[in-house]
Symmetry: C2
Subunit: 262 residues, 2 copies
């Protein structure tokens, strides 16, 4: 599936039918991908405020009408019940299942939130000629729970999750310029250099994704990450929630170019 | 003289009369200041190519007609013979004098080059609420000869001189965004983090300017510096050249805002 030649319609059909259940990094790479959070309507207002107060980790691309599984804002034929490769079902803050289809779990009170994802800015970095080690090595990006607190809203609070990419100083400077153009997919980094300053004790032990080496002439560069709401779900322990599985994102009709602010 | 209330005409009159002979950091701070290189016409073409090939350290703001001491492109009444607070006179690559007026040295074959200066982007950083330690401490910025080679042109070659400002990671990220808007005053940094990677053995021993401390939670951030031509003069050893004295810049009529590209 990791071919630039695979059209979006074929990718979506493969995901919808359950034939494609993996990570979407590099898949339909010109298209915006999104982090997904699905909550009962009783929690939706809290979560909307949480996103508004934490725009770096939680940049909202779309919010569905309650009970409506279609996401017309993001594409002409996106059904959130089937179009994510792999989901996580949460009960009282625990992951109870990782299905590839949530049609049987759908309810008329569910609201879907789609948040921007770093895959969009990674494509812009690759297009500029930068190399990303986790992609070269075929890994999921390394993610860590930092000691940076999110701004709480209702039941939602917790640490900001960050993704890390090792870069030379020159590449980091260029990456800051490029990602600053994409505020709706996390924008500029939130930290670089010493990981201990944001509460990360060991880069070799990510909380999500896969570790990659940081070379002596490189800086670890940290971006706010769309997995942050999953850390907030751990703390809020709502009765019921559904998210995407990290790395297995919703692929939208939008083109990444559309997100650049200049 | 370090008052925002001093009008440009008064500042220029004080410099022209020899009453003001010091550093221009913070003086007429809304106005673009420039590094100055004055060369015989026989070397002017070489130096123009040197600037074209090294736009980060040598961003050209203006070049005079041969023999013309006026710089109409930069202001209605700028006379390069009198309007720099302190000059350096070079013979065979050695500094032989530091006068405050070069009227007696003027020749009909001299060409003036004015290069952008970091004071313009420093003002943009201060306006954004960032703090710069050398300014807080009343020092000249620390400058170092790096091991980054400039691209040679004719007789001109040598190491890139860089200025260093210590910053937290968050401030460095913001400073990269801001300075990227100002390509004609050195633009984005060229390095950050480990100084040894660009051949700087000891930050406490700058080659020009004054040392400042780098705190444990800070990164040293390095910008290309307009003192680079002075390092090239050391190597080229031309019979005759005049520059500004580091920190004592030409103040132009231009407003810093004018240099922002977006």
């Amino acid at each position: 599936m990791k071919s630039t030649a695979t059209p979006l319609t074929d990718v979506r059909a493969a995901i919808r039918s359950g034939r494609f259940t993996g990570h979407t990094s590099g898949v339909a790479q010109d298209h915006v991908q999104g982090n997904v959070v699905i909550l009962p309507e009783t929690l939706a207002a809290d979560f909307l405020r949480f996103c508004q107060r934490n725009p770096k980790p939680c940049p909202l691309l779309a919010v569905s009408e309650p009970g409506d599984p279609m996401l017309a804002a993001l594409g002409s034929d996106i059904d959130i019940r089937t179009d994510v490769p792999r989901y996580r079902v949460w009960k009282q803050g625990e992951i109870v299942d990782e299905p590839t289809d949530i049609s049987a779990l759908w309810r008329p009170d569910l609201v879907t939130f789609v948040l921007g994802c770093s895959f969009s800015f990674e494509q812009a970095l690759l297009d500029d000629g930068l190399r990303l080690r986790h992609i070269t090595e075929g890994k999921n990006v390394a993610m860590y729970r930092s000691n940076i607190a999110t701004a709480a809203a209702g039941v939602f609070h917790g640490p900001m999750v960050v993704s890390m990419r090792p870069m030379s100083a020159a590449a980091a400077i260029r990456a800051i310029q490029i990602t600053s153009r994409f505020p709706t997919v996390h924008g500029a980094p939130i930290h670089m250099g010493d990981p201990a300053l944001i509460g990360i004790a060991d880069l070799a032990k990510p909380d999500y994704g896969d570790a990659v080496a940081v070379m002596p002439d490189e800086l670890p560069v940290f971006w706010a990450c769309g997995v942050t709401p999953q850390a907030a779900l751990l703390q809020a322990r709502p009765d019921f929630a559904i998210t995407h599985a990290p790395g297995a994102m919703l692929i939208t009709d939008w083109l990444n170019h559309r997100l650049a602010i200049f």
